[in-house]
């Protein structure tokens, strides 16, 4: 009896651990309960079942966090909050100069808005906006899984120091069709990496090197930093749509993004120099799909997917007129200084806009705007 008691005692921690890896919650294997030790939040992207992917540049890790916010909601209430940054600062008990808004994303299931904030001392905070109020989303005592971006060997890394694998920052992160895609930069060498990581996370991690051809340039560029990207189906085929620092819009076939591959992208639009893209989303109005792009130095633009589908060429000639555009046509909205943009529901998009008086407002527009 005593032996049985001690045996049970010995396996108790394992039972507790197994019970913590909660398979019945609908989470995939690999999730554990605990403190993920998130050191920074660079980017957010929602995956299936209310799982939120968090890019942590400081620790070079991508976390999958169970938000337990998976109740479907068909329609979202328009979100409007004036002086958004002041309200965030007040909630955290500080001044606006002591916080930075890092990302803003909508849970596609619950339609709730999530906002990543960083304190001046580097402390990351994740907030959820419900009925115009902030809620803290705990980053400790949660179900999570993670993948380390810096210590996994890649097929094309043959030297012992890891070569190009180091990633100082995660510039953008997006989940699509069972993959988390990440664009990153080094703080030392001039290199831009793009990775595609299967989810649920395993030890297998593929790194794809992307090659693009700039419209205004007679050369291929391989290490231009990707600012933002999204995925879309064009004529039944899945594409990665990437936008670069000097704003060309480039398509990559998702079928070709394989480990170690060197993929040539097709430049379909040039939106002009002196600007860089910030966010890209897809909206629908009637039968038409639109790519909506927010920019650093230009208004929010819309591009018709039909025009992208119809554009079969790749921009190859130089653009001689300064600041001019070429390729797929676009329309500029009367909407400037939009620093965060995401789809709120099928008919609305939400954005953070810096107004001319300096205020930072959270606003919503619907697809009548398109």
């Amino acid at each position: 009896m005593k032996k049985l008691f001690y045996s049970l005692l010995a396996i108790a921690p394992a039972i507790i651990l197994l019970s913590n890896t909660n398979h019945r919650s609908g989470l995939p294997p690999g999730f554990v309960f605990g403190n993920p030790e998130i050191k920074s939040i660079s980017n957010l992207s929602f995956g299936p079942g209310g799982v939120l992917f968090i890019g942590d540049s400081k620790s070079g890790t991508v976390f999958a966090l169970d938000t337990k916010d998976a109740s479907p909601m068909e329609k979202a209430y328009p979100a409007e909050m004036k002086n958004f940054d002041q309200k965030v600062a007040a909630f955290l008990g500080t001044e606006t100069k002591n916080i930075t808004i890092r990302d803003l994303k909508v849970n596609p299931l619950s339609k709730k808005i999530y906002c990543a904030v960083q304190s001046v001392d580097g402390t990351p905070v994740l907030l959820r906006i419900t009925d115009g109020n902030f809620q803290n989303v705990p980053l400790k005592g949660v179900m999570y899984s993670k993948i380390d971006l810096n210590n996994i060997p890649s097929e094309d890394a043959k030297n012992k120091w890891g070569g190009s694998l180091r990633m100082a920052t995660i510039e953008d992160l997006s989940y699509s069709d069972g993959k988390v895609m990440i664009s990153g930069l080094s703080n030392q060498e001039f290199s831009s990496t793009f990775r595609s990581i299967p989810y649920p996370f395993t030890d297998a991690q593929s790194q794809t090197s992307l090659e693009i051809y700039h419209a205004s340039h007679g050369r291929f560029e391989t290490e231009a930093p990707i600012e933002t990207f999204t995925t879309a189906s064009l004529q039944g085929k899945k594409f990665l749509i990437a936008s670069y620092t000097c704003t060309p819009l480039v398509l990559f076939s998702m079928d070709e993004l394989k480990p170690g591959a060197h993929v040539k992208g097709r430049t379909v639009a040039e939106f002009g120099a002196g600007n860089h893209p910030l966010d890209m989303i897809t909206m629908k109005k009637g039968d038409d799909l639109y790519l909506i792009i927010s920019n650093s130095d230009r208004p929010v633009m819309k591009v018709k997917y039909k025009d992208i589908e119809a554009y079969k060429e790749s921009l190859t000639s130089q653009i001689m007129e300064p600041f001019s555009s070429a390729g797929v046509p676009y329309i500029s909205f009367p909407l400037v200084n939009v620093i965060q943009l995401d789809k709120l529901d099928d008919t609305q998009f939400v954005f953070l806009q810096r107004k001319s008086n300096g205020d930072l407002d959270l606003r919503t527009e619907n697809n009548e705007f398109l």
Binding site: L92, T100, D121, D156, F220, G274
Partner: protein, 371 residues
């Protein structure tokens, strides 16, 4: 603060504020044997919590603490309760805010809606300093790719382009010179910032290059300026302006070649440094991180690396004396010069003419013998 006192608070509040701050100050200076009613919890220089002693909340049921006790920022207008967690531990309530309390700000503790005390978070003690800017040399190629800014303390992120300017000979600050990235490129402890000059303007024939011209032009002089006011992670700010003169020289489009480097070989049984002369300035951080030494048995040699002479020379001082035999210097191909040309490829390539190498494939090796 003075104007705030004059304009924003009624007389009774002013008196309360003054008395409480004084009270807090007295509490703070008490001998350790007596317990202050309210005290701060510090962790790594950050005020991460607030302890409220039982004397202030004795009549509260412990399970009602989070609803009856509030911490608010004392500020213009009404402020919501600071978000955080309450824990009752022994005789104290521990309040942990979501982010550390901000330096220089005052927080009010309210119990059952009544003021119970004020806490001023003292400003940080040491102000940050800009220790160095790399490249250290004054004359740089006109296609210079990046600057490194090294600070004495971890700095606040997302601030760089508010404080860093490049001015021309007329004193005008130049627009769209640096690549704006979010997040910025920092090392892990946030003491070294990497700032790229806009690569789209450096690469010839790219749209930004055609439209805005290259960031630097051969023969021109520039002044790189870092303004005071940039906060560190303790909300202390740079106190002094930092300027560096730069002269743009001819474009460098040639890959660095280890075959042309000269070596000063140290003596056997000494701890003299190995010196490698590159012949042209190299990237400061990459030089420190991409060069590795192996001893005659193939083991990594432990020691200290440094870069000097305007990034043209690399020194390696071993921890132990050199032994006789063949040493290997392995240089990762990612090592770049100031223009971003690495050992494998120049920064600008005509891909129609050359085969594309995949990055990170190789390293170069040089061998030297200690007699």
């Amino acid at each position: 603060m003075t104007r705030f006192f004059r304009n924003s608070l009624p007389v009774c509040c002013k008196l309360f504020l003054i008395s409480s701050l004084v009270l807090f100050s007295c509490c703070h200076n008490r001998p350790k044997s007596s317990t202050p009613a309210i005290s701060l919890v510090w962790d790594g220089g950050k005020a991460t919590g607030l302890l409220i002693s039982k004397s202030l909340w004795a009549d509260l049921p412990p399970d009602s603490v989070s609803s009856l006790v509030q911490v608010r920022l004392l500020y213009h207008g009404s402020q919501p309760p600071v978000a955080g967690e309450f824990h009752v531990q022994h005789d104290d309530i521990l309040f942990s805010p979501l982010i550390p309390f901000s330096r220089g700000l005052t927080y009010e503790i309210r119990i059952k809606e009544h003021p119970a005390g004020l806490v001023l978070i003292p400003p940080g003690k040491d102000r940050p300093r800009l220790v160095a800017i790399y490249p250290d040399c004054d004359t740089v190629p006109e296609n210079l790719l990046k600057f490194y800014f090294q600070f004495s303390k971890p700095m606040a992120e997302g601030q760089a382009l508010k404080y860093i300017f490049l001015r021309n000979e007329q004193g005008d600050s130049l627009e769209h010179i640096f690549l704006e990235l979010n997040p910025e490129l920092w090392n892990q402890d946030r003491t070294v910032l990497t700032l790229w000059l806009d690569p789209g303007r450096i690469k010839r024939e790219l749209q930004p290059n055609l439209t805005l011209g290259p960031p630097l032009v051969k023969g021109k002089k520039y002044l790189l300026t870092v303004l005071p006011g940039w906060p560190d992670q303790e909300e202390q700010t740079l106190s002094q302006i930092f300027s560096k003169n730069i002269i743009a020289s001819i474009r460098d489009s040639i890959c660095p070649s280890p075959a042309t480097w000269s070596f000063n070989i140290p003596g056997r049984d000494t701890e003299q440094p190995l010196r490698i002369h590159f012949g042209k300035p190299m990237d400061y951080l990459l030089t420190l991180h991409a060069i590795h030494l192996l001893d005659p048995t193939g083991k990594a040699v432990n020691g200290t690396s440094s870069v000097s002479a305007g990034e043209k020379e690399y020194f390696f001082k071993p921890d132990n004396p050199w032994i006789a035999g063949l040493y290997k210097v392995q240089i990762e191909s990612r090592l770049e010069d100031l223009a971003g040309n690495n050992l494998d490829r120049p920064f600008e390539r005509d891909m129609g003419k050359t085969q594309l190498p995949l990055p990170g494939h190789s390293f170069y090796e040089k061998v030297f013998e200690i007699q």
